[in-house]
Each structure stands twice: as C-alpha cells, then as structure tokens.
Symmetry: C2
Subunit: 250 residues, 2 copies
C-alpha cells in the first residue's frame, strides 16, 4: 500500500507579517484546502519583501516539494516585487501578459494610474494564469510555483481556481478525541499506542478552557479503517485515565 | 548614524500548524514584542515535528541571526521532541535539569505520570533557564536559541521573561496613513517618495471594509524625525489623490 505522498511548501511574502502588524491567516487556509485535495504542506516560510531572499527561498523549496504556493507582493505598488523576483528565480524575462493587460485597459484611468495597474500584468515569460473570480487581474504560475495575492479574500478565490491545476494523492484523514486531563496523565499509554501504530500520526495538544485543563488528541492517517481502530483505543485509554485521576494531579 | 541592526528568526514547530488544524498566533506576538525591544524578525519558519528537520533548520538560522526563538514541542508527550532535537543541533547531551526536576517532583503523581512530567525537565547540557511565571516548568535557552512553549498564554509569559536576556538595538518606529483610494491611485507618487527616502521603508496594504476600497500606507524607520517628515508627505499625496479621484477608478 505504498503510495507517493504529494507535498507542498507555502511562502508568505510580506514585511507586514514579519513586523507583526498583520496576522497571517493564509497559511491555515491553504493548508486546510490543500489537505482536502490530498496535498500535504510540509513547511512554510515567512519572508520579507527582499528580492534576493525571495529568489533563493523559491529556488530552494521548489526543488524540494511537488508544489509551492506563494502569497503576497503582486499588487500595483513599488513594494510589490514578487513577480519580478519569481522571474529571476526561474531565469526568465518579466513580460506584460496580453490577456491581463487587456483586462486592465478596459477600465478608464489617467496615464500614471494605468501604468501602475499594468504592473499587475507583469508575469515571468512562460507563466500560465491563475483565474481570479473577483474580476480583478489573474495571478500566475510557472513550473510548480503558484503565485497568489496576499489579501485573504482574493487569495481564497485564487486558491479555489487551483483545484483543476494541482494533483493530490491520498487524503490524510483525521480524528480527534478531547480529554479533560493534563497531558502527562495519558502520556505513557499514548506513547505505547504511537509505537504500535507508526502509520498513524498521533498528536497531543493541551488547552485551557475556562480554568479547566484539557488535551486534544489528534490522529491522522490515510487509512480510515486503521484510524477508526486507533481512535477507539485512544477513547479507551482516555476513559481509563479519567477514571483513575478525575482531578489533574490528584 | 550607522548602527548594527539586531535580528531574529522565529521557528514555529508543530504539525498542527502545518495541517491547518491550529491557527498560529505566536509569530505575531513575538514579532511585536521583539520589535518593541529593538529586535527585527527577519524570517519565520513553520516546520513539522521531525527531528532531522528541527536540527537542520535550527543550525541554519542560528548562524544567520542574533537570536532564534522557537515555539512548540516541549510538553510531556511522545510528540514533544524539541528539547532533544535542540540538543542534537548543538551536539550536546540531553540532561535532566535539577531545578526543573525538583519543581516537578513537588507535585504528587503515579510513577508513569511523574516519568512523563519529567520529560519537561530535559534540557540540552549547558542550557540556561527561561522563567515561567505561570508556575509550570521553565523553558530553556542554549547559545542564541530560546526555546518556548507553543500554547499561546504560556508562550507569552515565557517571552516576557526574555526581556532581561535579549539586547535590542534601535527600535523601528512606524507611522500609518489610511487612504480611501485604490493602491494604483497613489502608486506613482509613493514610488517617488520611496526612492527619495531609502532609509524609510514604505509599505502599501490594500483593504476592503464594508464594500469600500482602501489602502493603508505604513512607514517604518529608526529615525523618528525623518519618519514624521515622510508621513507629512504621504498625507499630502493622499489628499491630492483623493481630491483628484474621490471614487476609485473614476
């Protein structure tokens, strides 16, 4: 039952995320969506709007994973340098894409406003288009690198249009069990269970909810039957531990 | 007025962030806090709970920046592998830290629960402690790598205790101006202003607010007098553009 795992990296491009001014939400959205398509996000990078950095990070990760998704830096202002950086990463010219330029030219504008808007028509030579159902300019892809907007509602719409472009593998299914126990109360049996089932990834995540300590146990695997068996065992070990120590630390 | 910029990288360790199950909020918190201390976050990595990955990423970034802050993977369960991975990255033994172990042993527990809790006393040999004002086990640092919990309220408390350990440089101050204009309406004068003032980083961030299009212009510099002069120029160019095109695209 060995199957190839399809992988991706996400590159969040933007000084505003690294300064803390803006809370990123695109990584989570992309990870959940690609996960549903059978593509696993293996790493994410948050990097500044610096050309050399974008070029080297894109070239590093596009060699490591099946797909790379970038967000940010494709607007009309001087600080939007993603398109030219990706062109450099691929060693190709930055060109004015005729379809995008025609779309932009439909709207009346003064010469300098038009010139700024046309920055959004610049793509690396050989790039394909990523549709933008908001009616705004499309984004683009080149090789295995998909370049999306950073503004979340636009990113989301562009991401949807990748569905037909990306090929996923088996979907990593998940199950979760909530235990009102501190993690150490179940750590030992949980470790034994993990060792018995290396094909299931078992994660333990503590939480504090209205002064109450708890742990969410998350199981992930592409094998649903196995996942259900392991979940039943997790539920049993949680029930045993709750019966033994209803109050954390008691 | 050349001064050394103090830099940091953040490493978010955790499968739950990469799967999208959990929305990270630690990066923003760390970036804002370090920013106030005069330390700039230059990149962030989100990586899985895989030892080889943690070792190689930690070793890569600790050589590049003044400080490295990691979050996640220091709890008592089998999937918490950060401490042992950091020890491997530094090529030192993982030891039981006597102060942390003594704190943990104060609380009664069955042998297997105690054994699990004592996983949180394991630190790389030579590590110093990062206080944990919640009363839970302290975290640790070794070299320039500061290893914090992943659960946000605990991370925040640990981060506060780094104040006396980290040395910042000049604080990057920021100003922002909100324009109810699309970005392209001000892109040209903004680019001219950026070219005239390379010491000020000018960012343009579009937003959509109740159907209204706008742009937040953010200026950042360590020189406050210069920043105020540039902000006045940004306000002037926004006023000019708003007078010229009160309705986007009109």
């Amino acid at each position: 039952m060995s199957e190839r795992i399809i992988t991706a990296a996400v590159i969040i491009i933007g000084n505003e995320i690294l300064s803390g001014r803006t809370q990123d939400s695109n990584l989570r959205e992309i990870a959940l969506t690609l996960g549903e398509w059978g593509i696993r996000v293996m790493e994410a990078r948050v990097i500044p709007d610096i050309e050399d950095t974008i070029v080297s990070v894109v070239n590093e990760v596009r060699a490591l994973y099946d797909y790379v998704i970038t967000t940010g830096g494709i607007g009309p202002t001087h600080d939007d340098i993603t398109a030219e950086s990706i062109a450099k990463a691929f060693g190709v010219e930055l060109i004015e894409q005729p379809q995008i330029a025609a779309l932009i030219r439909k709207y009346p504008a003064s010469p300098d406003v038009l010139e700024s808007r046309l920055r959004m028509a610049r793509v690396p030579a050989g790039a394909g288009l990523v549709e933008n159902a908001t009616g705004g300019p499309p984004a683009f892809f080149i090789g295995n690198v998909y370049v999306l907007a950073g503004v979340p509602p636009i990113m989301r719409v562009m991401l949807t249009s990748l569905r037909s472009k990306l090929t996923g593998g088996a979907v990593l299914q998940s199950r979760s069990v909530t235990a009102y126990l501190e993690e150490s109360a179940i750590a030992t049996p949980l470790q034994d269970l993990q060792q018995a089932h290396p094909q299931v990834e078992i994660g333990s995540y503590p939480f504090f909810e209205g002064g109450r300590v708890g742990t969410t146990l998350v199981m992930r695997s592409t094998d649903e039957a196995l996942l259900d068996r392991v979940m039943a065992q997790v539920e049993a070990l949680v029930a045993t531990a709750e019966a033994r120590s209803p109050v954390p630390g008691a």
